[in-house]
Symmetry: C2
Subunit: 239 residues, 2 copies
């Protein structure tokens, strides 16, 4: 009989042979450390092994494929949210949730893109889901109403964070600041505006102020979140 395909259902180690030198948490933590410092592409089995001071293929004693490592890393990061308590009321609760998710994602920019894929949630993720649902305590909503609200909210947060990370991650990968990058673009922007084919876009490029503000990302998120929460409110019973 093969091992259980879900890593969280496999015992961390057997009872017979030698005690393993490391544990899943070590592997996860090493992966997170590398990804934070050098990006997700730097996270290879060889690199993690080097970080732990073991042989490369020894990792396969803790994990059955690289995807497992990524799941471990995801749950490790969600563990940072342990200890969170939510304010009273669904709106402040969801607001807090959205901000915490965003902060976590920005602290670990490699995380959001991993969201693709059938997630097998580890204990920390499950705990977070439970906390998230508690934002509706005492409101007497049925399960589908809660799901609809949470799905919409997290779609917005995920999408916004991914867009934000575009800038930031590209900066890290290429080692160019936003200004150096603009420099490198050279005549591309002007050539777009000068072509006359995109009058509305040209007007926005000239007149919009948001893109030039230093805290543009924060303000856009705040503004978008307010809109989304208003939208949710309109569909909740009572309010």
């Amino acid at each position: 009989m093969p091992d259980h395909p879900v890593i969280w259902m496999r015992p961390e180690h057997g009872t017979r042979g030698p005690k393993p030198t490391h544990g899943r948490r070590d592997v996860a933590a090493a992966g997170v450390r590398i990804a934070d410092a050098e990006g997700i592409d730097a996270v290879s089995m060889r690199r993690i092994a080097a970080e732990l001071g073991t042989g490369t293929t020894s990792l396969y004693r803790y994990v059955s494929k690289k995807d497992d490592v990524l799941e471990l890393m995801r749950d490790e990061v969600m563990g940072e949210l342990r200890g969170t308590t939510l304010p009273a009321g669904w709106r402040p609760g969801l607001r807090t949730i959205a901000f915490l998710l965003r902060e976590t994602a920005l602290r670990h920019p490699w995380l959001p893109p991993l969201t693709s894929g059938r997630a097998n949630h580890g204990p920390n993720s499950l705990w977070w889901m439970e906390l998230t649902l508690s934002a509706f305590d005492g409101m007497d909503l049925d399960a589908d109403e809660m799901l609809a609200a949470l799905t919409t909210l997290s779609a917005f947060v995920l999408g916004h964070v991914l867009a934000e990370l575009g800038d930031r991650e590209a900066a890290r990968r290429t080692g160019l600041t936003h200004e150096q990058w603009m420099e490198q673009q050279g005549e591309y922007g002007p050539s777009i505006m000068g072509s006359g084919r995109y009058p509305r876009l040209t007007r926005v490029m000239i007149e919009a102020e948001t893109p030039h503000a230093a805290d543009r990302q924060d303000r856009q998120f705040e503004a978008g979140l307010a809109r989304v929460l208003d939208g949710l409110a309109a569909h909740l019973p009572g309010n």
Copy 2:
């Protein structure tokens, strides 16, 4: 002097030597074909070259790095939206935009995850942005108001589509249907509910009906979109 770093600013080919056997469109189309059929991981320089019947490194005559190929592919896909006309009114307009974006993303599931990264928009992307802005024609909004609305909307669409693709892409990568996957999970779900640590989550897992509906994704998107548009309406002048 080095070539211009933005591919759209480089001439497609010089005027001197032999006529190139292919063009950028060929490279882009080959990439899209491969990605649609076998996933983005199958898109390698060697594979594209084989598809075109050329030598691998000949591709570097059309493109200066693999990232350029991905940009070409993105713009190629956006070209599918040419010919779109929007209905009158900002709400029907944005609704149409959201649905078209989603359909395109689902037709090319490898596209949304590429959204990370400073995008250099090609001609088709620029055209789409112009169309998008035209949804507000005659409303006398300032540039920042339009940006706020569009940023929020596209964050939601991107996030939702990414979540949807989780299922679908994992299915393609692993070759397992949703049912086979559930089977493989085995006792994991029940063990979560049985642990007693997640009462709210357990209730949702039991009572929610949305996750079991065949058209759950469509309905969730529709419902979320309605909420987001309501939220946008609340912040637009006049309405």
